[in-house]
Every structure is written in C-alpha cells, then in structure tokens.
Amino acid sequence: MNRLLFQPQLHSLSNITWLIPQPGLSIDERVLVQNVEEFQFMDLLIDLTESNLLKDDSLLPNLNDLTALTDPLMKGLVLSGIGNIHSYFGNYAKSFSAFHQALNTIQGHSDPEALAFVYSSMSNLLRKLGHREATLVLAEEVIKLSKTEFMKWRARVQRSLAGKYGNEWRKTVSELRRAVRYYESIHNAFRMAGIQRHLAHIYARQNEYNTAEQLLDQAENIARQENRIHFLHEIKNDRGYLHFLQKHNRAARATFSELIREAPIPYQEALVYQNLGLVEIKEKNFRAAIACFRKSLAITEPNDMRELLLEDYLRLARCYRKIGDDCTGSLLYDKVYQTVLADLEMGLPLNSSRKAALDETVRFLKAHCRLEADDPRYFEGLESSTLAEARILFQRTLLTLHLRQTETLNALARKLRVTPRALHGYRVRLGLQRNSKGGRIRNNHLTSYVEGFLHFSWKEATTHFEDDFIRFALGKQGFNKRKTADHLGISYPQILLKTERHQSKGYLS
C-alpha cells in the first residue's frame, strides 16, 4: 500500500513515521549490520558522542554486540546510526527499515534528544533522495526537540542542503557559511570540511568553478590533517566531476581513473564508474560508456544500492539506444520501470528525477512495444508502396541498425553472410555513404519489426520481409492476386510463386 510521504497535519511526535516509507518487510538486525565497515562504526560512535548521546563508548565494543544490546534507548540510537550508514551506502531499503525499527524501539521512552537524533538521520536520507518537503519537516522537528546546539545546527544544515540546487541557493550558501563558523567555533574541523564540500557543489552548479575549487582545497587540507581517507576519496570524486562540468574531459577521466586505483568503498567506486561513463557519453564513446555503467551496475545491483541503481539502468538504456540496440535498451528500460515501481510500493513517492525517468521509460516502451507478427502497423505508411520501394526502406533500416551495432564492415559482412564487396554495393545503392553510421529511422513500428531480423542473413531477412509485405498487400487488396501484383509492381507469376510459398508455410488457407 502506498502511503503519502508528506502529511503536515500528522507531524506530531507519535505520527512522524508517516514521513518515511515503510519497506514491505522489516529487515533483520543481523542483516542490517552485515557489510558495515569498521570505519563507519567508528564514525557512528563519534556521531553519538558528538551528539552527547553516548557518555561511555565502551558500551558498544564492536559490531557483533549490537544485536545483543538490551537497553532500548541505546539500541534505537544504534539502529538509527546503522540506518545512516546504509544511507551512506545508498541502500535505502535497509535505511528505512533501520529507521522504523529505531523509532519503534525509542518511542515510548520520552527521550527527545534520542528522537531528534533519529529524525536527523532520516532527514539526511530524504534530503539525499531529493524529498525536500519531508526533509524540512523533519529538520524543523529536530530543532524543536533538541536542547543541544550541536543537534540544532545539524538540522539547520540538513534544512539548507535540501535547497542546495534550487533557486534560493544564495540563502543556502549564507546559512551554510553560518554553520561553518559554528563548527569552527567548537573546533569541529571535519564537519566544517563536510559543509565546505557541499558549498563547492553549489558554486560548481552556478558555474563559479574557481570558488568551488578553493572550497574543495580547504576541505582536502582538513581531511589530510585528520587522515580521513574516505573523505579524501569523496573530495577527489567531486574534483573529477568539477572537471567534467567544466568540460575538461581529459582531466576528469584522469581524476576518476586515479580514484579507482585507490580502491574506494563500493558506493564511491560505483559513483566514479558512473561519472566515467558520463565523460565517455560526452565524448560520444557510447561503447566505453556502456562498459563503465556495467562496472557500476556490478556493484549497485548485488548491494541493492538503489540510489545509484536507477541511474545505471537509465543511462545504460540510453547508451544502448544510441548504438542502435533498442532490444537491450528495452530490457534496461524495463528495469528502470521495475525499480521505480519497487520504490512506489515501498511508499517512496515520485520526485522530479524519478518521474522524469519513468516518463522517459513509458514513452520508450510505448513506442517500441512489440506488435503481433502480422500486425499491419509494422507497414504503416507503406500502403501505396511497390515491393521494390518497400524493400529499399526495409533494407535501408536493416543496414542502418547493423551499421550502428557492428564495429567493422568485414565483421558486418560475415554477420550478414555476404561478401564485403556486395555489402559495399548495398551501402552505395541504399544511400548509406562511406563513413556514415546509418541514416535516421522514422517509423518506430517498422524499426521494431526490422530488429527481429538482426540475427538473420541478408538473404533470409529480405526473403522474410518480402513474404510479410506481400501478405500485407494481399490483405489490403482483398486477397486478389492480380490486383496485388499490379499494386506491388511485380508480375503475376511472381506473386503466384510467393503465395505458393505462403501456402507451404501455412500463412494462407
């Protein structure tokens, strides 16, 4: 059952769970702590300590002890922290499950600081997923609940970041700069560096690349001083993307490749492969882009990193379309559809990016839906064509699709089982000139029909097409063979021969 994400009248303490989606099944605690890195557990301890919620970190000696915790308040806090860790990994099904379990554990213990911590974690995830309204409600709730300046500032930062790419970016910058001054005043350099990184994103988005670069430099200095390796990887990724935005593709590629060699955590690695794919798309190297997105998919799919998974499917679909492989494109669009559907079933409403992805998917699938083998729509627009004219269009479309997919002409000749010389002859005759990767294709149904012949030889494909087209023409002429022959511009004996073949195949009674 879908639930509305944003219900302002319901944001009393007892009903705040309405603000986050409920995964279909609650994920077991032991599964939630699997694959949690040691450094992230340490960050969780720091997080709880900074928030003044963990007086004695010996209470949480290692990851294995988390499930054995009996103190409900502490357990709720840790579950919330684990939810945050999965947000960091991009696996929001696990995050939402952890947050729900955290709220169930904490609610009833009347500890506003603990609740504020959970809401703050939830707000961070919803902000990452682009759900601004819910982020704002949760952040405001944290500001109301918490008595500590640290937690209030954390919520203010979430509130500001929710609008970082919007029209009010100047206001966001101003608030974030205030936060930087606060963290500076309490000597929390690491949080200060985190905000500097987000400020860099905003300036980059506004094409103020020098300012963005300076902010990343400042963040990097802090990360080096504190020896935060994973944070350094994040900054390097951001630098690569900054190069990409500036159209410095070579520098972007070099930065991303260097980062891959430094073996970042899986989430970061997948993001870097995606970014490398974007660089390749920009340079129109679609096959190289496909290779990059496939590498990202090899990480995001098994780890259920839904935050990045949709982008992998969508960008792969686009790249396959670009190289003319609409069949694989269809399969990938179907994956996009299934992913968005899974989100909706979980209760996560469509935001602008997911809606755009869904719109694109539906449009594509609608245009490329497979028709029945003898559907007349395949030959729409060819009703008045002779057989020779229709054959030219068919062969031109077929060769265009092949040229887009096959690397060399010799390989294509082998695939079509013709000589390279004959292939050259076809290209010249069909107007697919040398160095051309094929013409434009207008009739989506015809394209869909022709795709069915991509694994046929040239001779087989043409024969099948002629059979189908003559059958189509016969239907249009009331199965009058003489009229059909006249219409198609072929002789009566020729049509007799063709219909003889149809009868032997059982097409005609």
């Binding site: 690569g240 990045l308 694109e360 076809y426 087989e460 002629e466």
Partner: protein, 166 residues
C-alpha cells in the same frame, strides 16, 4: 487449365532457383541485380515558414529537408520539416510564434502544447500534446503545424555526480 498450371508451377520454381543470391525476387533487388536507378515515391515537399533563428552560437546549423546543412545565423528562416541543431549541444525551445530560441541550460523541462518532434537525449521521438517531458536536447524539429509552446524551467534531472553524503 490444369495442364497450364502444371507447366507454370515448375517454371516458377526454376525461376526461383535462378533468383538473386540476396533473396530478392528476380532482378528486383537494387543492390545487386540492376544498375538502373530505382525511383522511390516521395511525399510532396511543401515549404511553410516555421520560425526564425533568434540566437545562433557557434555550431548551430540548419538541416534542410534534403539533408543539406547550412550554418545558421540570427534571422535565418526555418521551414517545417527542417531541423535546427547545435553540434555543441545547446538546448532550444520553440515559442508560441514558432521561433526557435536557444536555452543556456542543456537540461530543461518542457511542457508542450502543440505537437513537436524533439531529439531528446540522443533519441528522436514525437512528443504528445500537454505531455511533460525532460529534454537534454541538441535538436528540435518543428511539426506540421509549426507553432508550439515550450515552457522551460531549470531542473536537475538526475542526481549529480557529486558525492551527496553528509
């Protein structure tokens, strides 16, 4: 009649055996058998003014109906069935009067109130009336009725490549 058929059918199979190696009917395949030009019926081309180039940064081209290409300058007329494209990937919109206007932001969301064909993100397709869509476009082709309205707004379509972790 029966006798005639008994002669025709074997003759047809004999002809089939001699048909072209590419599967086409006798001498009907333009690729191998015939050197004579094959005429293809083409729709009558009508020239109807669709719009005018309002801005033309480097790389802007008009592609005529016969596929010939012309470098576009401000003030150039664009006719129906012609395309305007920019090799550097700028985005365009077509205003109420059919004018082509180049957008600075390559990611624009548009609401289309008249039929228009848009090359959105590497793929050409027709867009239905009143359908919201997102365009990363390098090319817009003006439809049969020419004028259309695209309202644009800047939007971040997919997540950025920045690491958005806290």
């Amino acid at each position: 009649m029966k006798n005639i058929n008994s002669l025709i059918i074997p003759l047809l199979f004999l002809l089939a055996a001699c048909s072209s190696p590419d599967g086409g009917l006798l001498s009907s395949d333009p690729g191998l058998r015939s050197s004579a030009p094959v005429s293809v019926a083409s729709a009558k081309t009508t020239y109807q003014l669709a719009g005018q180039i309002q801005s033309a940064p480097a790389g802007t081209q008009i592609v005529h109906a016969d596929s010939s290409v012309q470098t576009a300058v401000v003030g150039d007329d664009v006719y129906i069935n012609e395309s305007v494209k920019n090799t550097v990937g700028s985005a365009y919109k077509v205003d109420l009067n059919g004018n082509l206007i180049i957008e600075s932001d390559p990611t624009i969301a548009v609401t289309i109130t008249s039929p228009v064909s848009v090359d959105y993100y590497y793929h050409q397709d027709w867009v239905a009336v009143n359908q919201d869509m997102t365009v990363y476009t390098s090319q817009i082709r003006v439809g049969v009725n020419g004028s259309c309205t695209l309202t644009t707004k800047a939007t971040l379509v997919l997540r950025s490549g920045f690491n958005e972790n806290e």
